[in-house]
Assembly symmetry: C2
Homo-oligomer: 367 residues x 2
Amino acid sequence: MTHKLALIGFGNVGKEFVRLLRAKEARLREDYGIEWKLTGIASRRVGWIANPNGLDTEALLAGRCPECPAWAAPKNVREWLEEADPDVFFEATSLDRSAGQPAIDHLKAALESGAHAISANKGPIVHAYRELRDLARAKGRKFLFESTVMDGTPIFSMVPHSLPAVELRGFRGILNSTTNVVLTEMEKGLTLDEAVKKAQEIGVAETDPSDDLDGWDAAVKVAALVIVLMDVPIKLEEIERVGIRGISPEEVRAARAAGMRYKLVCRAERTPNGDHAEVRADARAEAPAGVRAGVRVGVRAGLRASVRPEQLPLSDPLALLEGTTSALRFDMDVFGLSIIEHKPGVIATAYGLLADFIRAVSGAPIS
Amino acid sequence: MTHKLALIGFGNVGKEFVRLLRAKEARLREDYGIEWKLTGIASRRVGWIANPNGLDTEALLAGRCPECPAWAAPKNVREWLEEADPDVFFEATSLDRSAGQPAIDHLKAALESGAHAISANKGPIVHAYRELRDLARAKGRKFLFESTVMDGTPIFSMVPHSLPAVELRGFRGILNSTTNVVLTEMEKGLTLDEAVKKAQEIGVAETDPSDDLDGWDAAVKVAALVIVLMDVPIKLEEIERVGIRGISPEEVRAARAAGMRYKLVCRAERTPNGDHAEVRADARAEAPAGVRAGVRVGVRAGLRASVRPEQLPLSDPLALLEGTTSALRFDMDVFGLSIIEHKPGVIATAYGLLADFIRAVSGAPIS
């Protein structure tokens, strides 16, 4: 069966995803009986492009769009979906942290049109997870989003399938690459600004690194994990969030000299209901000295979640992480489990979309 | 629906599994619609016990068997299966490394009787994986074995479901607890014999620790991983296997002083077909000095696999593992992924059986 695919967002991730679809074409056909054609693509640059017979992906990847003049008729997502008529829709636009838009509207429109909806965008998980999940169920379609946290690393697909009936008590991890690179460079003697510049030069940090340095990117990931895996509809402002701007190079180096490393650590753990006051006090007491003044503490009854710089001993596997490597440790009733993603490139995010595609269209469990 | 369960092997793992079934009873019913009764149990001590109406698990766990006189009629596995009439069969007897028996016969009989077959026993994977897999398919039943490697940690369930269409190039890991504990104690100054005694005292090493010290337990796990995940029907004798008896406490301590740690490392990687000579030379050159004389090199065309002591730098996350903690790192085309299981107890193995049970009887993918 040939699946019609439509993709919004044709930046690094979107392009890499199309490349990976092409590279894995034979494997998909032979191992999964999956064939595909790209019938729709949309981005700020190319506009709303649709061709129900399939677009020329090679030309699109080469920056050409021979069909654009003929097929650029749609003016919005609904017209575009009608024209492209996808079986599977992929959302790969950039994050809008405050409301998750317009990605949420894209995903809703796709589900309503009868397509499976796959998102690499975290905003919709944080702002509309339950609504999208319920809409997908009502439509008999899948809403999947593996690549929103730790790229293609199995998290959202692993927990329900591979860890059924566990009691997930909490997690901790390192989920932001920019701060990881910046803190490592500060250990070597750079100032914060110099370290950020270095992270930008190697392609890890964005032009405006505020979302990373202030802990927003990590907090959005914590929210997604808590909402989906712990079934608690936490809001971003309920996550304690301390960035790394308040830590001086001297503090970073002093920690290193003492056998410790500063890392921006993400945490969530269940607490007894209503245990607000104590949690709030704890959180303040544990905040690193340099940032205590600017701490913002938000706690939801029954759960405490935080993103903040912590000093970790070198015996902690999280302390060893370098560069884009990220890690997550789950605390469960049956055992503890850590997942480490080693030095992923953009292909890892693209793979998350591909794996979700396979899971969405394989009716039976993949085994 | 109430599932009838039958279990062979009522040692530590079997008992813990029954305890966990009881502890998770409400969760199974509420979240998965699963009810169960234990209709058969068999072990060297209690014999073949079956009661199609359900055995008294509380009494069995307390070491009593009120129904034994009445129900101990079956004389072998087939009579017992007929009497217990299980929907799901669990194999938890101890490992027979050389032939995988009688566990293979148990699993075959169970599948032929129409039950799903779940094994905590590695022998059948190493000696009869394809046969059992094909028999299960022919019978429309599941053959699952998550707890054979790293207990309940998602490995065999994760790769097909959560990592579809990846190219698995190889893996490395630390999969044996006894040698991990023994090498750590030798770093602290104990001799091999003293360290083994310590490992026995804390319940990690068995009375006869040869299978662990000589690398057999680790080699069996490597074989299972290669056979199932890399689809190469490797034999145990094709895995290079060097145990830790040849390393002196002085060598262990000298490594530690130099910022390295000896670990019994498991490895497998694909090689070009027929690349035997080069691989053989490599393997010898890399073997630790103290054990070079006793090295046994076995290589299969297209794949090299080994279990041997290696010196790892402290910057390698594998070097940090202590006690029963185990880890596996997958080398894939899309990214690298490590899984760490932290300090599992016997409940982790029991959980692997429980998770397989849920996966076997949930018709649809669990998501």
